[in-house]
Amino acid sequence: MSTRARRTGRFRLLVSALAVSALSLAGLALLLLVAVATLLIPVWVGLPLLLGAVALLRGFAGLHRARAAALLGVAVERPYRPAPGGGWIARVRAVASDPATWRDLAWVLVNATAGTALRLLSVALLVVALAGLAFPAIWPGLAPGTDLGYLGVVRVTDQTSANLVAVEGLLVLLSWWWAAPGLLRADAWLTRWLLAPTERARLANRVRQLAETRAETVDTQAAELRRIERDLHDGVQARLVALGMSLGMADELARDDPDATRELLAEARQSTSQALAELRDVVRGIHPPVLADRGLDGAVRALALSSPLPTEVQIDLPGRLPAPVESAAYFAVAETLGNVIKHSQATRSWVRLRHAEGKLAMVVGDDGRGGADPSDGTGLRGIERRLAAFDGTLLVTSPPGGPTIVTMELPCELSSPKTSPSSGTG
């Protein structure tokens, strides 16, 4: 970073410190609003008022979380429990029993006092420094005989001692230069301390999230098994029964009617072909053979190759992924590409896979009409669920008119370096 950039950085911090200090008064107003709403609960109107005030407070705290995160360079998460449905009273009770609400309120007070003190100190140091530096110019203008007493450690009596004040100003300026970022970081740390989830809240959240994803995973798997059972029952099993019948009849007719026998045998052969075709489809749905052969890299290339859309593939995976992750990743990419083909009206698409920093990043994009919404399409929601079982995430950006870009991330480690040779074609 250049000196100039750092200087503007410091001055920007200064401006934001002043703004945030002024804003802290708005926080106090919100605190007051919460208090008033609580008092009004007996006359009912307090309930919606309280919920509104808390929502505002959470938004206000959210802004400060973002600021603290930017200053500290770490993420500051939201600690709140998910809002329950139900009536006003249930919701107010949930808000009141969430420790994060009380921590927010405590933070408003700390932010308006200790936080403001830290921020203003960083501003005050600069003001004092500038005043000191300007003092030699101001001194001659003062009425002769004025005694200002000690300015710092210097008693000002003449121009020379006034010049010494400027030296003091310079020292203060240096200390401001050195201390201001630290002071503001201390303020941000204070914010983080009260606004980030406590270890306990974090664990409680994690447990709830794990319970949810586990239930969803179990549901999804049960549904998959039912689907496979149905496919086998209606397809392969029925074909084999028909095959057995054809062969039985052929056996009966073999001596008397060779032509009919031949016809039945041809039918039987066709049944085996169809049964095999159906089995192939079932197997592909369980675990595509090319995924077993070539891993995610080859399987995604094969997917792109058999897609009706021209699909460009870029893969940077120096090893193979754990089998369950590989399978989840493959189906996520396959379903996303399937969505592109079905809904996007795109003329081309692309897939990028990359493993970095303990995460597999999968990006699927197209040049279609956009407007994909994960909340209404069951397809995207299903992919999200599949990924959630592995703590994976899905992010869709799809403005109307396109392009649509689906970014999926799966935390995982690469297990072993690639062993099977992979061709360069793709």
Binding site: D293, R294, A302, L305, P308, S420, S423, T425
Partner: protein, 214 residues
């Protein structure tokens, strides 16, 4: 014709040996794993090899890898690969050396004995035998492409059969038209796709497959 067979399931291996021997092929060796296959291919240099994709020790695409490796050592060594499923990706890899003499078929095509033996002989003679399913996947991929969408339905049919590796005579027999009509269609197809015309069946098939694989 001298044949090497690679298939790990004894039942299918014995079936293939019986089938090929009964039709005047000489099975010089039947192996059940990848490394033995590579050795058998390079020492016997058979007229044609019939190879299962999935073989021990890894049970992945061992057979395909061994076949591709053997063909780098013995260019044009005819190999017919059988599999429970077909992947255009694998077809592309088999065809990438552009030497011909390759086949890639679903295993259940074996049950149509006449066509299967025809495919083995074709591959042995340096021709090509691609599974209709591979071809239909490749064609689906190009469905909206400009030159292909200009083909008439009959021309598409001829293109599909040609990509499977069939000669003009075979296509004519299949579609109940004259050979002359077939060569008229193929000329039209080559014109529309901008491929250099060729009288040689094999070369023509390879050109079409290269086009579809692009």
């Amino acid at each position: 014709m001298r044949v090497v067979i690679a298939e790990d399931l004894a039942l299918l291996r014995d079936g293939l040996i019986r089938l090929l021997t009964a039709h005047d092929f000489e099975v010089v060796e039947a192996v059940d794993n990848g490394p033995s296959l590579l050795r058998a291919l390079t020492t016997h240099r058979p007229d044609v090899a019939v190879v299962d994709v999935r073989l021990p020790p890894t049970f992945t695409d061992e057979g395909l890898q061994a076949a591709i490796q053997a063909r780098t050592m013995v260019p044009g060594l005819p190999v017919l690969v059988l599999s429970q499923y077909v992947e255009p990706l694998y077809a592309r890899e088999l065809l990438s050396d552009r030497n011909g003499g390759v086949g890639y078929l679903l295993k259940d095509r074996v049950s149509n004995i006449g066509q299967f033996l025809d495919a083995v002989r074709r591959v042995g003679a340096g021709g090509t035998a691609m599974d209709p399913e591979v071809i239909s996947q490749l064609l689906a991929r190009h469905a909206s492409n400009e030159p292909l969408s200009q083909l008439t339905p009959r021309e598409r049919e001829v293109l599909g059969l040609m990509a499977e590796g069939r000669s003009n005579a075979a296509i004519a027999g299949r579609l109940f038209i004259t050979e002359k009509a077939v060569s008229k269609h193929t000329n039209n197809i080559f014109g529309k796709l901008g491929l250099p015309p060729s009288e040689d069946d094999n070369r023509r098939v390879l050109a079409v497959l290269a086009y579809l694989n692009a």
